[in-house]
């Protein structure tokens, strides 16, 4: 099956810092989503981005489908950004969402 690896596994930042999270996947996909799982366990949709670049406030994401990776950028981080960030993909020809290994982000004041 498709492999989805995220890096770094853990990230500790001070408030105001910028960060880049990476997601590598091993096969062609027709769906890629980024989620933020908050400390209460809820998965919040950040981006649906199978290719190209999108921005939403302090967050932006870029997926280069031909090279099989996606990047999530967080600028001017805030303590509320803490939690686990997952990317998840659907391999072309299937309808199953496969989650990556996650990046745990802690932002300190």
């Amino acid at each position: 099956g498709i492999q989805v690896e995220q890096s770094p596994p853990d990230l500790i930042l001070q408030e105001g810092a910028n960060s880049t999270l990476r997601c590598n996947f091993s096969d062609s996909v027709n769906n890629l989503q980024w989620f933020h799982q908050n400390p209460w366990g809820q998965l919040i949709n950040l981006f649906y981005i199978p290719s190209g670049t999108k921005q939403n406030g302090r967050l932006s994401a870029t997926t280069v489908a031909t090279e099989r990776y996606s990047l999530l950028y967080i600028s001017s981080s805030q303590t509320t950004d803490s939690g686990v960030y997952f990317c998840a993909v659907i391999r072309r020809g299937t309808d199953k969402l496969i989650f990556g290994t996650g990046t745990r982000l802690q932002v300190f004041p």
Partner: protein, 114 residues
């Protein structure tokens, strides 16, 4: 538009007891998913419904887990009897029934089995 609703948010039971979770998907979403998320891991798909039919239940431990979606809208997931290793967050998600299958998740139910 209203999101995916789940209840209860938290549940604590003793091993060998039974428990049920409820999910109401986003209006118009024909596909409904139940995931189990063990602490420190990504969500794992348990079962997928299309309308009121099961599409995939290959990862559902059928000796103790059951799920139904009788009218093609809301769904219940039941565990009977519960084991200690069932302690997890149970997430419900929904999507339209055609590509790209963008999924939206509910707030989850955190189950603790003692």
């Amino acid at each position: 538009e209203a999101g995916v609703a789940q209840s209860p948010r938290y549940k604590i039971i003793e091993k060998r007891q039974s428990v049920a979770f409820w999910c109401n998907p986003i209006s118009g979403h024909a596909t409904l998913y139940w995931y189990q998320q063990i602490l420190g891991q990504g969500p794992k798909l348990l079962i997928q419904f299309q309308n009121n039919g099961v599409v995939d239940d290959s990862q559902l431990p059928k000796d103790r887990f059951s799920a139904e979606r009788l009218k093609g809208v809301d769904s219940t997931l039941k565990i009977q009897p519960a084991k200690l290793e069932d302690s997890a967050v149970y997430l419900c998600a929904s999507s339209l029934s055609q590509a790209p299958y963008e999924q939206y998740f509910g707030p989850g139910t955190r189950l603790t089995v003692t």
